[in-house]
Amino acid sequence: MYHSHWILTLLLAIPLAGAFACLGVSGERAGRVALWTTVLEAALALPLFWTFRIGAGSFQNTVSVPWIGAWGIGYRVGIDGISLLMVLLTVVIMPLAVAGSFRYIERHRPAYYASMLVLTTGMLGVFVALDMFLFYVFWELMLVPMYFIIGIWGGERRLYSAIKFFLYTTVGSLLMLVAIAGLVYLHWRSSGTVTFAYAELLNTPISRPVQFWLFAAFALAFAIKVPMFPLHTWLPDAHTEAPTAGSVVLAGILLKMGTYGFLRFGIPLFPRAATSHAVVGLFVTLAVIGILYAAWVAAVQPDAKKLVAYTSVAHLGFVMLGVFGFTAEGLQGGILQMVNHGISTGALFLLIGMLYERRHTRNIADFGGIAKVMPVFAVCLVVVALSSIGLPGTNGFVGEFLILVGTFRTHPLATVIAATGVIFAACYMLPMVQRVILNPLDRQENRELQDLGGRERAILVPLLALILLIGVYPKPFLDRLAPAVDRVLQRVDMLPSVPTARAERALPPGVRLGREAFTANLSGVVDAPPAPAPGPERGS
């Protein structure tokens, strides 16, 4: 069944069916329907991890059915390693997010759970779509339920936050729509056929200046979604006001849309623009600023949820650094870090939500010493916090380390500055942990707190297990990413204007080692003109 083609379609259809079912039942039963739907979804999707053919360079489980024939629009889906991990991340997070809503959501339950399920379809669709039109439909499809989730079930300033979220995102995606149309037009001009198929559009010959314009439109949409500094200010508000599950999905999955978009569309479609010195320089700079700046702002937040929201900006900064470093290590690390961030930040939001359900406050100063009364919670918080700050042995380290060690070869200075982020990460996370679970238990309200119950533990266990598993044995994940990453690199490799380590990948192993080759790499980056293509005699 898993080598058959319809598994992805099934995965897209089930949540929609579940959404209708939710609307048909009342009250708490909607939650149960949603939970079972997402559990079924996860059970169906997880075997993909093993049936996925490692090492295959092409898309797998592909389906291509004409939809609007005259416009060359088709229902085209398929997965590569990047999509696979994103799909699995989605199906793992969703049941946990749904189960995490049972206590939090008290109003309009059927509508809420239906929104969550529609959102699931939208997100999965974005990750598997191989047709630009289909992609855009899913991209917008996920926006609407998220808007309602924040706007209806959110906190006090929910309307402001929801509108801010919606407008920010829409501005970007409208420009992207124009760019998609432009791309299709260019393809029609050169080949005579109108098509939205991703695989076809990749072959569109585009002049350099036009590449820049189209890339800019895509990049704006994706950079808002990431979010990159300085386009990030929708995120703290949206996160803070969204209900727990909304924040979990937002951080865990939705933020990956931006980086995924760069990897799938922005870079492969417009490689010449994406790898130009100006663009790479801009994105690396913004990524590094994001890492540091967000960590600084996070360190002075009084609201635990807002603090975590800012850490997302920092973490995604690392991902962007890995992506625009254009090294195999950095890209694999970046994609793995997308998964890691989903797990650890999702878990952080869940934990904070559990506290909020008990105390109805997210103010860090209102807690203190609760390790005494909530020891299980305390252990979970510490493990997740350590994962978030990238302690070796947890998943966070593997991703960050690969990003930095890879990118250092192409952007040494930026990487060193970014690496100071590990210090600032400790500066925002440890004080929060201390002020919540350590220190004297001096408030009466906190003395009566109940430790995590069975449902809550069940929600956290899968995430904690993944934190440790990916931390100690990330190989199965990295193996599945390697061919996809190689394809991205090949795509940019065709261009002479791309300097540095990529060119060396063509060299036989061992030749690129050595001080001379390394310093030549550095000078290739530091000096503005493109480095000469290195011959095999270099560095020997």
Binding site: Q332, G333, P392, F401, I423, L430, Q434, N439, V485
Partner: protein, 661 residues
Amino acid sequence: MYHPILPALVLALPLAGAIINGVGAFLWREDHRVARWVGPLAVGASFVVVAINFFAMKASGTTAASVVSLWTWIAAGGLHVGVDLQFDRLSMVMMLIVTGVSTLIHVYSIGYMRGDPGFNRFFAYLNLFVFFMLVLVTAASFPLMFVGWEGVGLCSYLLIGFWYENEAYSNAGKKAFIVNRIGDFGFLVAMFIIFGIFGSLDFSQVLPAATGHLRYGDVWATLITLFLFLACMGKSAQIPLYVWLPDAMAGPTPVSALIHAATMVTAGVYLVARTSVLFALAPISQAVVATVGAGTALFAATIATQQWDIKKVLAYSTISQLGYMFLAVGVGAFTAGIFHLMTHAFFKALLFLGAGAVIHSVEHAWHEAGRHGGDPNDMRNHGDLRRWMPVTWITMWSATLAISGVFPFAGFFSKDEVIWKSGVLGYPLLWGVALVAAFLTAGYMARLMALTFHGGENRTGEEARGHLHGAPLAMAVPLVVLGVLSLVGGWIQIPEALPLPHVSALEGWLDPVFEPAHHVMAMHGGAAATAAPLGGGELTWGLISTVVALAVVVWIFLAVVRRRYRPAAESPEPTGLSLVLYRKWYVDELYDRLIVRPLMALWRGCWKIVDDGLIDGTVNGLASGARAVGWVGSQLQSGRLGAYVLLFMVGVLVILGTVAF
């Protein structure tokens, strides 16, 4: 041929202990029997396996490293890092020290932590620490070593803040973690450069290839080693990152003995020794390491002379002794550095454990007497304790004489070796600094012993005095073992110059490890001198230093014993230079003013001014602008026919006008 025997078991045993005790901290929190056995036995069994391996390695006579690959950890692009353990002569020495001292301290902890509600949790952390420390010393690659490196830091954090309900204690833990992370940043950057140059992070790929890829004095060698040394400054508490270690004394005293004296804080010395060939290629870095080491040795010793808290004295003493170790590895005397690391593990662990016994006794006596408040760590509240605690008293004297460098105690041989080597390897100034610091060491230790155990007058208070007690058996046994080791531990390495049988067991054992580094240094640095900077041979200076050390001990001891002290609560504040030293040269205050507060202000500015003001101001401004335009537009649609006609006419005129011209 030597094959490691059950290598994974060395690490698996403490890890299993940590897991069992960790589970116990939840499931049988009140029942401490399991932890009491599992905690020490897990580490003790690990020690046995290490010892078996040691003898097997010794018997085989191999000088090569045996690498055991467990599984592939990270493989991406050109990077391949395995979970590989390396058993060679250096890691063997470290494993013996770590598991040996740990076993003793685990046994001691049974007595020290008896009745603590967090007993199981304590042993879980302690076992976990031993596991990570073993990862650190057996790792066969930089990243795996980094796992141990940050892992021990984590355990240190957890154990410093073990009594987490005390805000000062959990602050101390946080401070330790953050300051250490500054060092860890250096470790990371060093790894990036190494991977960039060597294309690998395995010791077996990098270190033998170092001389091929890097020239002597190479800027990259210098950068790598300086960043590595930044990591050492954090972990091993050297200037300017030493500030976390004195605060770390907030942890239970066995933790101070194990983590913050004997093992973890020496990890930096091990790192320099492990990468000795890289340091040998970078003379500038070597000079930096040696200078910072000697500077720290002197600086911390000055502070130690004016502390009243017995653990603070020992904390600064540890920083100072670590400085000696860095002086040694900095000048290229790697064996001497490891030698001092080993003897220091014995006598400093003992000093902390002895201090713990004192604190334990005073605390219990006060508790029994119903007295609350007062600081059991303050030596002004001790006095003449030898009458109640003979075992502690005698063993601590053994350690005191060892650390002061009095012949024939262990510290004499190791410290003399360090000082001598710094003199003959071309660092005359540092040699002088190290000598002065050595005499200060003798001074502050004599003061500590005199204040705590002597003076003929006990200051714990009338009612409490009757409740003072000696160390219970579980605590006494480790004290005695370490007391003996503080005496005989140095005899494995007796210099040829002394009129004694020449022993060079440690040097003979470690020489193959440091051979590449020595080779590089010999090629470029020339031969070592045969006399000290002021003339005189090793025997002369050994004699001078032991006589002066002993003289200082006697002098300070008599001076302190003759003075009358009053309990801490009744004592006046120190003044003048004493106050400056008591306040630790005001470094913490300086850091607070110069670094912490400006940073916090900057961060707040980023949030309030940039994020909320600038960016959101623009965004909301755009939104208001759009709304304003919309409002103007909506005003035009008033519903009045006349207005529409007017607008229509204006429009027609405009269009006609454009067409016409």
